[in-house]
């Protein structure tokens, strides 16, 4: 069935993939792909109003909307038009057998007048509600807990200077709400009230979106190889998944900031089941036993790519005066020895991550991770327009969602599905592809290059404001 899907006007790239992932989560494999989209007539692709066809019945639509973060509401569309007269005609034409069951005398209802890009005064709102007399509402009004919620939503040609996507023509929608996002999660989980956070803790909204892309749910095991303070696993655990994490920095996973402020306490704070396992390990030399594979249902992570925090791996060597040749740790110092580490380039890190995921994910399992992208000289999306993302023969890329972090660079959330089993043959092909990828992208992925591209001072003065197009979409 087709629905009107209204999004929050934020994280534009993330909106459709989230709905598709949730359809897959609630309706089984293949459902995500069967989701269809259309834009209402005359609407810009960034408009919050989308038409979506979801598999299954209304229950699925409600589940998708209620679990999502970016869906303001999914509605059964009763009518739409460019004027209130057209709306009336359209609603009258909508079949009675679809309408009457929700208008019965024993039910309660509420009408909400909403708008996008314009303000409707409460007097006008009242007038709009009064004008709906052509809909035979028989039930009683209940503003607090109505059985059915009806929405009148209006968007208008509001000029072009307010940073919103342009609207060619005024549109009015009337629909019955089927489900809506529960964004109350966000104040509960916001980082500023979390006990233990680090400089690169994932913000709560993004972590939930990642958990949704990873199809986190009860009975599934989610792994984060760069767990840090556990901010991604907290989101996965909220959705009922079992979690496991590793980090190379033992101070972060073991000690935190004391006995009441560490990764465990973050789970305790939200009354979530604690991770099944936390360990200190190097993603470059994973300590998994031989033969172990297909262990995790999802790997969700934010790898260190050297802009805010650089990656480290085993193998550095302390240079000690007078010592020549390979350093050996003296036996008496072995117990509390802190091994030195070497820089871990993005290319190597991503390669290890894909390798790990190919081996350790179940078939159909998901790898969800952020990947940095440099933006063109003019601040536009030259690289994003023709993106070159890492590939692996075991994986199919199903979503890439850009989040712009600065004028210079973005991060793209990649969602990949494991479509082929891991074999030695596949691993050989993967090595080849990786070498090719590395040759083409070596320069900017090398240690420090990304960091300097993001932070080096600009060559010329600030870009001319006049030259900026009026609606820049996500490219603000």
């Amino acid at each position: 069935m087709w629905y009107l899907c209204v999004f929050y006007h934020r994280l534009l790239d993330y909106r459709r993939p989230e709905v598709e992932s949730l359809a897959e989560l609630f309706s089984g494999p293949g459902s995500g792909e069967s989701v269809e989209w259309r834009m209402p007539e005359n609407h810009h692709a960034d408009s919050p109003f989308h038409l979506v066809r979801l598999p299954g019945d209304e229950r699925l639509a409600a589940q998708v909307a209620n679990r999502s973060l970016l869906v303001k509401g999914i509605y059964e569309l009763w009518g739409h038009g460019t004027t209130y007269e057209e709306l009336e005609k359209s609603v009258r034409e909508y079949p009675d057998e679809r309408k009457l069951p929700f208008l019965t005398p024993d039910s309660t209802f509420k009408i909400v007048v909403d708008s996008f890009g314009k303000v409707i005064s409460s007097q006008e709102q009242n007038e709009i509600m009064q004008s709906l007399t052509y809909i035979p509402f028989k039930g009683r009004v209940n503003l607090k807990k109505p059985d059915h919620r009806f929405f009148v939503m209006e968007t208008d040609d509001y000029g072009s200077n307010n940073g919103l996507p342009p609207v060619a023509k005024r549109t009015i929608f009337f629909g019955r709400e089927v489900g809506a996002a529960d964004r109350h999660l966000l104040p509960t989980y916001q980082l500023k009230s979390r006990k233990y956070i680090g400089p690169t803790a994932m913000d709560a909204e993004m972590a939930f979106l990642m958990a949704n892309q990873g199809l986190a749910r009860p009975g599934k095991l989610v792994y984060d190889p760069f767990v840090g303070t556990g901010s991604i696993l907290v989101a996965a655990a909220h959705f009922g998944a079992m979690t496991m994490g590793a980090d190379i920095d033992i101070r972060v996973v073991r000690d935190g900031r004391g006995p009441d402020c560490n990764v465990w306490s973050n789970f305790e704070q939200y009354k979530l089941p604690e991770p099944l396992g936390l360990l200190r390990a190097d993603n470059n030399l994973p300590p998994w036993r031989p033969g172990l594979k297909e262990m995790f249902d999802a790997i969700i992570c934010d790898p260190p790519y050297g802009v805010r925090a650089g990656g480290r791996k085993s193998g550095g060597r302390k240079i000690i005066k007078g010592v020549k040749g390979p350093y050996t740790v003296p036996d008496e110092k072995r117990d509390n020895h802190i091994p030195s580490t070497a820089p871990y380039s993005l290319a190597e890190c991503v390669h290890d991550l894909l390798h790990l995921a190919a081996r350790m994910l179940v078939m159909g399992g998901r790898l969800v991770f952020f990947y940095p992208v440099l933006r063109g000289e003019d601040g536009a999306d030259s690289r994003v327009a023709s993106p070159q993302f890492p590939e692996h023969p075991c994986f199919k890329l199903i979503a890439s969602c850009e989040q712009i972090l600065s004028y210079r660079y973005s991060r793209v959330l990649l969602t990949m599905v494991k479509v082929a089993p891991y074999t030695e043959e596949i691993e050989r092909v993967a090595e080849e592809r990786h070498r090719e990828f590395r040759e083409n992208h070596q320069k900017w992925m090398e240690e420090g290059n990304l960091h300097s591209a993001v932070f080096e001072p600009a060559q010329d003065a600030k870009p001319d404001r006049e030259l900026k197009p009026k609606y820049r979409g996500k490219y603000v």
Partner: protein, 131 residues
């Protein structure tokens, strides 16, 4: 560190052939209740190395917890077994997920390299001369 994690880990120290199974030496361990999810156990069980799991429970001084051989799946996942005190699925769940080793070490069977477990976190990092 839960025994599930122990079951997944191996030593990748230079010179180790398989580095598995790691010998568990627990100085301190506790039990923490975890909600039983039969589907989760069902998905997990085929990936568990039963012998290593049994060895780990014995190392903790729990010889009675698990039998030498893995019980047949139809017994483990029998209808209602999850609600029966002491049933196979309960014991497996308990062994894998509820036993939490706080302090101790994991010893590589090939090289005797000792990986410390401190505050519940196994430290699998290698020293620079072991990579």
């Amino acid at each position: 560190m839960r025994l599930l994690t122990h079951n997944m880990l191996a030593s990748n120290v230079r010179g180790a052939t398989t580095g598995y199974p790691l010998k568990l030496e627990a100085a301190k361990w506790v039990t923490k209740e975890v909600d039983l999810n039969a589907d989760f156990i069902r998905g997990l069980l085929p990936k568990i190395d039963w012998r290593a799991l049994v060895a780990a429970t014995r190392a903790l001084g729990l010889p009675e917890l698990l039998p030498e051989e893995q019980p047949p799946e139809e017994e483990i996942f029998a209808e209602g077994a999850a609600d029966v005190e002491g049933s196979a699925i309960r014991r497996i769940h308990h062994a894998l997920l509820e036993i939490h080793v706080q302090e101790g070490s994991l010893v590589c069977p090939d090289t005797s390299r000792c990986f410390p477990i401190d505050k519940g976190i196994p430290n699998m990092m290698l020293h620079e001369d072991e990579v």
